[in-house]
Amino acid sequence: MKVLIPSALRSYTQSAEAEASGSTLGELLVGLDRQYPGIRFRVIDEQHQVRRHIRIFVNGMAANGLSQLLQPSDEVVIVQALSGG
């Protein structure tokens, strides 16, 4: 499925979009990391939680967690939160 990549992570993908698969959001991110080593840890911490300033949306709705089920037609968007300075 299509995954939209924020600018802060494009050093990994070299693109604003990536293709990855998985039956859950957690599996999708593992698959993305296989293609782009290191990308998952920048987004998910060692306690398997989405990092504080990262948001993930599925079909325009905020994801419910890494166990959220996905369909091949879903669109996943990784967003860097509106924070910083």
């Binding site: 992570l9 987004v43 911490d45 398997h48």
Partner: protein, 376 residues
Amino acid sequence: MTTTALLVSTRKGAWIFRADASRTTWAVDGPHFLGQIINHLVLDPRDQLTLLAAAKTGHLGPTIFRSTDWGAHWQEAAQPPAFAKAPEGEIGRVVDHTFWLTPAHRNEPDVWYAGTSPQGLFRSADGGATWAAFSGINDDPQYRAWMGSEKDGTPDGPKLHSIVVDPRDSGHLYFAMSGGGVHESLDGGATWRVLISGLNVVDGYGFDAANPTFHDPHCLRLCPSNPDRLYQQNHCGIYRLDRPAESWVRIGKNMPEEVGDIGFPMTVHPRDDKTAWVFPMDGTEVWPRTSPDGKPAVYATHDGGETWQRQDAGMPKEQAWWTVKRQSMCCDSHDPLGLYFGTTSGELWMSRDEGRNWECIARHLPEIYAVEAAVL
């Protein structure tokens, strides 16, 4: 011809400044990692080629980058420092950033140590590609109690820092925690002992000075010319320890009373164990941690802390409210020795005559977190 390099880490990236042996003109290389928070950029003195950078951004998790060509290309760690996954139902810790990097002993060419925030100690045996936790520190109930909560540390998180390797013995290690005190290992980190005797804790709250949790070492330095001598800038003063003694001596009591002995960084002379420098900051009332009275100065001792001399020639004489963080003051190995510090207001200052005269060599950088010097 020798080259002197300064590795400058900032809140918005890293820069490398290079000069010839005279250290009069500095060429700028950077920014590297523009926009990323670089807490420490360190050269491996064992090959004088490898750089490790501790990086994160405002949004992304922390990582380590490695270069073997002085920053022309960077390779990310395959397994950056990370705490163990907590059992289900328990709240585990998350590395916010790697704060400190130390190359190991010269006989262990691929080994590095890292200290994190919140406090964690890690080791790499493959040049920084993968990092393993010291679970005897990071997950030990006693150490976790001494570390306290995230409310007990500095505003951007409590830190494990000042990882020091005895040049005579690869297994003889020290580290410090803010908070959590100073610790020593004689077996490469398998076991540790507390080293806080003689250190003061904050007055007026009834804190027990025998409890490491109340100790806040800011910067620990070992003298290369005499590895039995350690200096320390602490939240509560400046100290010296001459091993095998166990008790720190507060040499900051000899600083001028109106200046005090509060600060973050400390650096030691590579060839003279009686000479060291500090950058005092205001520790009164609400702890501004700026140059006392807006008049910045380095203070030098040439007798192991018995006396201190003010060194401010070339610095502003008033209205300069500088803060210098614990990793932001260092020296090179020239004779006479060069001293360097970076301010949180983005200025890089140097002295090429051991502190007698100072000049600004860069302005308008982001907030400086660390300055390291290398002579190549």
